[in-house]
Symmetry: C2
Subunit: 110 residues, 2 copies
DNA sequence: GCGATACTAAGTCAAATGCCTTATCATTCA
DNA sequence: TGAATGATAAGGCATTTGACTTAGTATCGC
């Protein structure tokens, strides 16, 4: 059984690699074929294809075969799940710090 | 040599595990000791401590020994780096879709 | 059809991950 | 002082990861 299985597990794992983040960045500009995506990386194509597979299994990207090329695109929904989790936690921590701060201010005042 | 080394690599890798995300969530409410953090997880303490080590090496949390307990807290700055990256990419993708949409609207109109 | 192009499948390998147990260190408190 | 507590060190083991090479499939253009 894989160590990562829940959507957020898969998404964050996919994002933990610089090659895969670069692919995400590229795809934010629009769809692209596998070889086009692979070109900037000094990596054998099968190795690169595995990164795409990780991204696709995470749901962050989707792909479709057209002729002999495979075209990849971002899937904003799954990306948003991960981003939303981060924003929610960030806010929770920030709000706690705000409460702490105002508590300290009140203590000093009193 | 570790596969993950850059700050974002380490941060996203740290977040790819549900135990570690739960720790982050807990710490968003305030600092806590190692055993307090470990309590909800049916896991040997050394195993749990390794998760904390991953989190600390990623810079997402910091810790300090007080007496025989170690107290952990969030480090918002590192967390923000990862969250900011996600927000930036999300916006880039959204803006592209906006451009695409207005292009299509103009085409239909013309 | 035939060669070139674009992937994909299959197998190898070193290293990392995640869990465990056992043993040890450090601090607190009776 | 000496036992209990909180954490850490050390080592083991199955699985996963990330890279490679070699070989195969499917499509396109001549």
């Amino acid at each position: 059984m894989p160590y990562h299985s829940a959507p957020l597990d898969l998404a964050f794992h996919a994002l933990s690699d610089p090659t895969r983040r670069a692919v995400i960045s590229r795809l934010a500009e629009g769809e692209a074929s596998v070889s086009t995506l692979a070109a900037p990386f000094g990596m054998a194509l099968p190795s690169f294809a595995q990164h795409l597979r990780v991204l696709e299994e995470s749901g962050l990207i989707a792909s479709e075969k057209r002729g002999r090329s495979r075209w990849c695109r971002l899937v904003p929904a799954r990306f948003a799940e991960a981003a939303d989790w981060m924003e929610a936690e960030r806010r929770r921590a920030a709000e706690r710090l705000d409460r702490l701060e105002s508590y300290l201010a009140k203590t000093e005042e009193g």
